[in-house]
Amino acid sequence: MTILSQIRFLIPEIIVSAGALTALVANALLESKERIQTPYVVLVSFATALLTLVILAADAPQKLLWGTYMFDAYAVYFKGFFLVLGTVIALLAVHTPSISSLQSGGEFASLLGFSIVGAMVAASAGDFITMVVAVETVSMLGYVLAGFTRTRLSREAAVKYVLYGAFSTAISLFGISMIFWATGQLEFKQLSAVVQISPYKQFVFAGLIIFLTGLFFKAAAVPFHMWSPDVYQGSPTLVTAYFSVGPKAAAFAVIGRVLLDGFARRTMSVDWIVPPGIDWPIVIAVISALTMTVGNLSALLQKDLKRMLAYSSIAHAGYMLAGFAAKNVIGTSGVLYYLGAYLLMNLGAFFVVLAVEETGKGTHLDSIRGLGWTSPLAGATMAIFLLSLTGIPPFAGFVGKLVVFGAVVKSKLYWLAVLGVLNSVISLGYYGLMLKKIYLERSDEQVILPRVYSPVLVALAALTVFLGICFNPLIEYTAHGAKLLGVLF
């Protein structure tokens, strides 16, 4: 295939980049009042890119640009995921007073757009170089977004994020250099063959662990999570909502591809075979166990909603890692499905907190007191998000946990499965606390949701219910995506 025909598969990224660039220029040229609408440019580019992605998906899988860029169902799923995420965030950027009042909506939207481009490339990265560049793009833009409102807390969050981010990138690069030294390969699909026969297995394993450490920082997995509650709390809430889903999912996309494409093979069976001596599943299992447990137990102690949700998102990263530790197709498709469910319910929960914060009530736990009575719509949708986060059927979060823990049971990691379900019970402790504040306590102050919030919340809640009942199409697509990892084509 000629380079030009290969570029075809990059059109979604190109569209979003163009949209982001236009918004940035428009922001500089327009009067300050007109800037409020500039995020719509990026929003339209997201929608167009999503459309082209759907059309291009028919031609997947493709191995592009000398194996550095994979366009397979796995990548398509993640790209679609990031575009949906970007669309929702861009839409709310226009209608969230605390962001739109800064009158630099174009800047915000272009930062968001480029960050989404980075995440989309990360989902496709076929070798370490592309991967590092893509993940760094997401991170760099994240640092700016964290400090976007320029309040004291927001600045502190940005600085913290930069320091930890730079540190973790350095660690990752060090791990990559070890792997490269031992194998002479940077391309994931080739790596799996070389690793099998490498005389330096110990060294490769050490390199992999060091590389993963860097990514665990990005994904906020315990014990590399310390930065995230502070950054999540300090950043503007809309940005926090984005952080809790976007960069985390990008890290997961990369972790999945590196481990299952580069350090495992799959032929006929539904299980991946890990090269002997490079026993990463047990490492992932331990990190998963730590992450869910510490995340949930810490969340129990929080009094601030953003911090509580920050720890909750740490815990969810733990559940999802368990899916990779199972190293079977069900587990990996479970991770992808879980991320989809998590996008809906976690964004939903953050948006309710954001809506309340915009009324000037702050983000203390008491700010949602009586919300179910003062704003029935926000209360009811929040209840759905919280029950889904707990893992109660018939909501999407339950299906995610079912599939992931099912895969864990299938691979006979029973201790991890038991720990996982017990963690779900623990998580009811703080999700239940929020439910209690919303419905079991009363307040007289009226809460008026900012415009557009109501339809967005209803749509997220409706999808949360829908994906909890009719999950077959999505689970089949994610399984389709998972199946190509670790297979040469």
């Binding site: 009575w373 029950l387 707990t390 109660i392 059927p393 018939p394 339950f398 079912l402 823990f405 099912g406 049971v409 299938k410 029973y414 499965a417 038991v418 379900v421 017990l422 779900s424 019970v425 009811l428 402790g429 239940g432 439910l435 209690k436 419905y439 079991l440 999950f471 077959n472 689970i475 089949e476 399984a479």
Partner: protein
Amino acid sequence: MGSHLLSWMTFLPLAGAVLVLLVPRSRKELMKWVALISTLPSLGISVYLLTQFNFSSSSFQFVEKGLWIPAFNIHYYMGVDGLSMPMVFLTTLLVTICIIASWRIDTGLKGYLALFLMLETGMLGVFEALDFFLFYVFWEVGLFPMYFIIGIWGGPRKEYAAIKFFLYTLFGSVFMLLSMLYMYFTTNPHTFDLTVLMQSAAGYPLRIQMILFAAFYIAFSIKVPVFPFHTWLPDAHVEAPTAGSVILAGILLKMGTYGLLRFNYQLLPDATRAAAYFLAVMGTINIVYGALVAMAQTDFKKLVAYSSISHMGYVLLGIASLTDQGIIGGTMQMFNHGVITAMLFLIVGVIYDRVHHRDLNRFGGLASAMPLYAGITSIAFFAGMGLPGLNGFISEALTFLGAFKIYKILTIISATGVVLTAGYMLWTMERVFLGPLNEAYKGIKEISAREMLCLVPLAVIVVFLGIYPTPLIDLMKATLIAIKGGVLGF
């Protein structure tokens, strides 16, 4: 076949919940009527199914099956047998009664009614689901409506009681989830179909069966609740609004023993035989402990709550005996206790609505002021005591008859529970109704027609099944003997 009656019965209440939510906030009367009317078709269908039920068959009837999630071979698979049919009928009856009993709820009426209707869908689904996944979904769907019903419309300690109920039940059910997943992945081809699992799961070695049995037992014994997992019950029952307590004690507790019979017994026969004595011991503890604690209560509602713990012990003792009489008696007790305890909670509700306390020591002589109320109460109390001629007697007698053949000592110990029960029931009657009328209650209103409407149908069942229990026995007999046969291996 192909009539979809079970689906209509299960999901019409859910449609009713949506309708209730659409009624404008100010039209409270309309809301209540919509809710009441949307429970009636389900009640009608369950009565119709009773008339169409094939009494001599032990297999599932009115079966509906369709592929739901092909990726995981999950089916929408429903059906009823002699074990679930009585519970289905009881559920539809009690929910209708509960809506009537809740006529005077005022705050957040819309949400209250909608949650009750959702709860009905969840409960009916639990008794009908024949696909493990479907069962689990219904099982959990029954959870959060109850959390809100207790938490929002409950008594002074409602918040604590609600979250305790939620946490306990969720804790139990996650173990069931893991066992379910284990069974799914160890069966080839992978399936959640209970009728298939009933054949294949019996092939597990005893050690595995025991682990699965323990996991199921935790899930279901929390729901029953069996000592020492019972501590959520007094809190939840006491704090819940009257209708909530009726549903909790009348239906939700039975989901526990239903689960034991459907899952532990039918899926894991070897482990069930090995654990039968353990179950009998737990039943005995429940009977005696529950009765003793009930005796010490001064709160009317708490007394009824503990009496439920005691009475659910009979179910355990009966089914643990693995004799025809025992298993039929125990299962009958599920139905009979559901009716009796529903009456008792309604009765407590009637008096609480009038005097706004439940302190047994502050009543007295109410029989002279409320003769009708005293009359209907005595039917429920005597039935609870196991007086011959009322339905409680039949199931308790059969339970003892069956259990005595196998566990002589345990049955003798349990029999003291009957004496203790008679003790606290009669003592309560005396404290509430007999003696001189307490001055404070001079002008107290007699039980209203609406309240009688709730209680009379239940009283009729109590008396009818006390005199002529054959229909209920016939309904359950074929299925239960088959279950027993499956456990004993013939």
